[in-house]
Symmetry: C2
Subunit: 274 residues, 2 copies
Amino acid sequence: MIGNKRNTPGFNDVALKEGLGKSKPHVALQAGAQSVHRTIRLLRAVADSNDRGMRLTQIAQKTGLPTTTVHRILAVLVAEEFLEYDLVSKCYRIGIELYAIASRARRFALRDKYRNCLENIARATQDSVYLVVRSGPDALCIDYIEGKSTIRIMTYDVGSRRPLGIGAGSLALLAFAPDDEVEGILKANELRYRKNNNMTVSELKGLIKQARALGYAFNQGHFMKGINGVGVPIYDEQGDVVAAVSVGSITERINPMRSQEIAELIKSEIALMR
Amino acid sequence: MIGNKRNTPGFNDVALKEGLGKSKPHVALQAGAQSVHRTIRLLRAVADSNDRGMRLTQIAQKTGLPTTTVHRILAVLVAEEFLEYDLVSKCYRIGIELYAIASRARRFALRDKYRNCLENIARATQDSVYLVVRSGPDALCIDYIEGKSTIRIMTYDVGSRRPLGIGAGSLALLAFAPDDEVEGILKANELRYRKNNNMTVSELKGLIKQARALGYAFNQGHFMKGINGVGVPIYDEQGDVVAAVSVGSITERINPMRSQEIAELIKSEIALMR
DNA sequence: AACAGTTTTCCATATTATGGGAAGCAGTTT
DNA sequence: AAACTGCTTCCCATAATATGGAAAACTGTT
């Protein structure tokens, strides 16, 4: 009868990402969607320890949400088979439906397909290797292997984006796209090129021309000082570019001559996958 | 100033699945979770047309939810990268985060790994082929290929479950599990065996013994009249059973002699995958 | 330029999600 | 066996959150 006030009522769940410098200053980014955010937070938590599985209280602790709330949401996720629940161990794991839905995204399946390929290239070059796909006006990294070199170069994690053209793999995606699309992309990204990367559209056009002439994208520190990269496109059956593999390292390791060799290596590894 | 009453306030979103004959009669299955259910509904809708992508109104139409609500939830999903949004075409697609989370479920990745294998077996036998994994006390189908035979046999879709031991693949999972686990599973499923499949634990023990002797599970219409099946286990590096491949067809097509051949075929195809 | 279709914002409303409390369950320890 | 401990599940009053109609802002088309 005492009634209950919520501990942290409008708790700032949204305080996660806002870094992209979008407009809308003082309007909360996603209002009216607490539970959806929370649901996703729970899924992430479970996925992080999927092999051992996670129990209710662990999940609650990890996410900082009240046990009751977690329980309620997890029950739905289990009912929808987004999660599996083992009655005996009382552990939650990723469910078949979540997997089935994700599988519909064929483009990301390239990751599995080219995993070996990346590994071979990484072994041969000892440098960092990246696999990127196009996502709207961006290049999206869907897999990468860190180089053996002592110097960590980019923080270019899976899921990270940059404007098409910025970076070797990204440039490959752009340069080998159809002309009319290239125009649209350049225009759409013009502002970001200038603000984030200190580059102009005409500079990019130069790089595109060069890439087309070479047959691969060669980035000589254009985007980040001291970092060079080589990017090679991957085509689908229709001849459209669907992804790109790139190798990046410090300038000294990737001079023009070696860039040629690396490009050939990537091409031959890609060819094996067909 | 007229105020607005919601069209369909407590709309019965939950009326989806309840068929599993669970207890709890007159208590709504998942109360207090409308938005989570809706979120999942939206994800399904988008996934269904992922190649072309879907636009807001289409999604709203397909799911029967008000545009505004859809818009709000989709915004969150995009922010969390569960979906991608193409500014130009205004289309939504599966996002990288959803894929990344699903990828943590290694067990389901068997599906990709053995896809070719299933195809080869399907081509050679012309019968239906299934790939199942263990999920708690159940066998869970994660992939299948329908046979060429004119008679559609089982509706054993991806995501469908049955108690471990019921069905050829399912029996293979059970029979080649460690003894102590087998005991636990049999006990846990005892009721279901009897109620749903009209079988006793001791009958199952007989089948297990037979399977162990043969080196594969052979189901001669024990579970469904007129349907035979052959199931072969797949082991991981530690020697634990992680999945099973099975072939099923009408009794006439799978007699004891052919079952032996099929088992050998499956085994050799699996061996190629190592 | 007018139009039709779609996307996005706004906001009053009450339905739905919330979370404290407590009852149930295991699994250990005395 | 009983008492204890930690975890899971149920209950339900409360108000914060999600809701969806209305209308504004776009977009593309005739």
